[in-house]
């Protein structure tokens, strides 16, 4: 079974520029998550999709971050304009169950995109 794919793996941009990340979840997984992981910290949920609908985007800075999952499969996360504090690893995860988050509802993570904002 192929894992969660993300691209690019690394991105360096200057502040105020725009950037987009792409995620392809495990085939058949209805739930998709985007996390931000700052160095030395645990991941922080940015947005959760159930198919193509948003379940939770309460921690997404909506003035600069946007995400979509138009066909309920692939997803893109965009930052416009980027700030220095956006430097982090952006992780995509997927799950084959609605996020009741009970035992066994494992989230499978991609390798992440490391973003550096200069």
């Amino acid at each position: 079974e192929a894992g969660v794919a993300q691209s690019p793996r690394y991105k360096i941009i200057e502040k105020r520029q725009s950037v987009a990340f792409w995620c392809n979840p495990i085939s058949g997984h209805a739930t998709l998550y985007w996390y931000q992981q700052i160095l030395g910290q645990g991941p922080k949920l940015l947005i959760q999709f159930q198919n193509n609908g948003v379940v939770d985007d309460s921690q997404l800075p909506k003035d600069r971050f946007s995400a979509e999952r138009l066909k309920g499969v692939d997803s893109t996360l965009k930052i416009q304009p980027a700030k220095l504090e956006d430097s982090a690893v952006y992780l995509c995860a997927s799950s084959n169950k609605p996020s009741g988050l009970t035992t066994g509802d494992t989230q499978y993570f991609g390798p992440g995109t490391r973003l550096t904002v200069l």
């Binding site: 969660v4 030395g40 910290q41 645990g42 991941p43 922080k44 949920l45 959760q48 159930q50 379940v55 939770d56 992780l91 995860a93 609605p98 996020s99 009741g100 988050l101 009970t102 035992t103 066994g104 494992t106 989230q107 499978y108 993570f109 991609g110 390798p111 992440g112």
Partner: protein, 116 residues
């Protein structure tokens, strides 16, 4: 407030020894807890989970212990190997115990270094 945290930021062990990674949590209503392993340059990988009605659960070379009295969670790794070198996170769901609107709250992580 609700938080999940780790006692030790780093842990160094000799290959073959047993490792114990600790985690404190503050939400006594949490119904289960999860341990993840994150190797350098990779996303977190599920290791094991435990429901709040259990005090111990064993996997392959790993055991998770839950002490609800003191709100403490630990991950024990037997016969630690170089491949176990990683950052280990405990996490707990936040939100109602049913439905879609739950999310994982992660601790800061403990870095485990295995010396050959």
């Amino acid at each position: 407030g609700e938080s999940v945290g780790l006692h030790l930021p780093t842990l160094s062990v000799q290959e073959g020894d047993n490792s114990i990674i600790n985690c404190a949590y503050s939400n006594s209503a949490s119904d289960y807890f999860i341990w993840y392993k994150q190797e350098s340059g990779k996303g977190p990988q599920f290791i094991i989970d435990i429901r709040s009605n259990m005090d111990k659960r064993q996997g392959q070379r790993v055991t998770v212990l839950l002490n609800k009295t003191v709100k403490h969670l630990s991950l024990q790794i037997a016969a630690t190997q170089p491949g176990d070198s990683a950052v280990y996170f405990c996490a707990e769901p936040k939100g109602p115990n049913a439905g879609n609107n739950r999310k994982l709250i992660w601790g800061l992580g403990t870095s485990l270094a295995v010396n050959p």
